[in-house]
């Protein structure tokens, strides 16, 4: 299993000279499969470039799994080139709200005054599927979902292929309910990330920044480290970078994460656009 990161910025896209190394596009991760289908996690602005790449590769069958519908995870969808290609079949999986279906929630962003075109104008064949539900099973791969702690209906994902596993938790504030390694079943997303090889986890804030933003739905680097240790995951990938953080500041946070992790575990990594994570 291979994952390619097309966007790892949180909240809002941040192009500019201070973000060239780790990237300014918002959340989007491609799970690279061996067949002619594509599996995509989230539709932040990173999905725009991925869409062009998928069409170049001749991919016509795409499954998009959305963790939630906050704009930084959805805003790239309208500019996802396969959407505007009638040869493409696109399944969109994501959380419904207690009262509104996934389809209706997404259609809101495809209508004036937010967008000049209507969802009816989309030529690709689209189907919608609500999450969480039964695992999605592909050839040699399984995708599990579960609700996680973040404002509004939000899910996290766990991908399993053979003996490898990855958890994707880009927007997650488990500290709000506690990260007690002695009670892992009470940790939000604990089962999704348990013993995973990689955890792509929200690490938006420094410890000092978090104190002013408790309840906003995101984690400090320290909490991301705590979570990774509590669930027994092997390696943390710091994700959902704060828009105000430059490349240099992100590297300081990475250093802090490594310090907190200690020498007995694999050092955390900073997610960056173009990074490919390889699993056995």
């Amino acid at each position: 299993m291979r994952l390619k990161i097309w966007g790892c910025r949180g909240s809002v896209a941040t192009p500019g000279p201070d973000t060239t190394q780790y990237g300014g596009n918002t959340s989007c991760v491609e799970v690279m499969l061996d067949d002619e289908t594509a599996l995509v996690l989230d539709a932040g602005t990173g999905i725009r470039a991925l869409g062009l790449d998928l069409l170049d590769r001749g991919t016509r069958q795409i499954r998009l799994f959305l963790t939630h519908l906050h704009l930084d995870h959805l805003e790239g969808l309208r500019f996802f080139a396969p959407l505007w290609d009638e040869r493409v079949s696109l399944e969109i999986w994501g959380p419904r709200s207690p009262v509104v279906s996934l389809r209706d929630r997404i259609m809101r962003s495809f209508s004036p005054p937010l967008f000049p075109l209507d969802f009816r104008d989309v030529p690709a064949r689209i189907t919608f599927r609500d999450l969480p539900g039964e695992p999605w099973l592909g050839e040699g791969i399984a995708l599990h979902s579960d609700l996680v702690l973040h404002p509004g209906p939000t899910v996290g994902f766990r991908l399993e292929a053979g003996s490898s596993s990855v958890a994707y938790l880009p927007d997650h504030e488990p500290a709000l309910a506690g990260i007690d390694a002695g009670a892992p079943d009470w940790i939000s997303a604990g089962a999704l990330a348990r013993d995973a090889d990689f955890v792509l986890h929200d690490a938006q804030y420094s410890e000092a920044e978090y104190e002013a933003k408790i309840g906003w739905g995101h984690s400090s680097v320290a909490h991301a480290v705590d979570f990774t240790r509590a669930v027994g995951a092997r390696r943390l990938v710091l994700f959902h970078h704060e828009p105000e953080h430059s490349d240099r500041e992100l590297e300081e946070l990475e250093e802090r994460a490594r310090e907190l992790t200690g020498d007995d575990r694999e050092p955390p990594l900073l997610a960056r656009e173009g990074m490919v994570l390889e699993l056995d």
Binding site: P98, P135, L176, A177, D185, A191
Partner: protein, 131 residues
């Protein structure tokens, strides 16, 4: 994926909420098992939750011998917790209970069901108020 031990997110949030209250509060899951009570409840019960562990809620409540003022035992199906669990509706009652210190006290009990996003019943919250 091993999911058997994972608590439902709404229960996780309810536990965090109850942990912050000074009012004795307990949680039961969709099986009807007591899965948590807070420090305020520990003070009344006289035992930490870690010592009690998960157990059927009916058994736990029965230990306090809930009864009316004239000492008539209140059957489980008339207790707010059981009503909230069985009938999936809020319930409130006043009764006498004997707490860990052996003292009989009048308490008011409020219980209500918890439903997750797709109307999935995930458990109940029970709050005890000193009458």
């Amino acid at each position: 994926m091993e999911t058997q031990q994972q608590k439902q997110l709404v229960l996780i949030l309810a536990r965090a909420f109850a942990s912050s209250l000074s009012t004795p509060t307990l949680l039961a899951d969709a099986r009807g098992y007591l899965v948590f009570y807070n420090e305020a409840a520990e003070a009344v019960v006289g035992r930490r939750f870690a010592e009690t562990g998960e157990m059927p809620l009916d058994d736990w409540i029965a230990a306090f011998e809930p009864r009316t003022e004239d000492a008539t035992p209140i059957p489980p199906e008339h207790r707010p917790a059981r009503i909230a669990f069985d009938e999936r509706r809020p319930s409130h009652a006043q009764y006498v209970a004997t707490s860990a210190d052996g003292v009989a006290r009048e308490v008011e009990v409020s219980a209500f069901p918890l439903f997750a996003h797709t109307d999935e019943f995930v458990g109940i919250v029970v709050i005890f108020w000193r009458a």
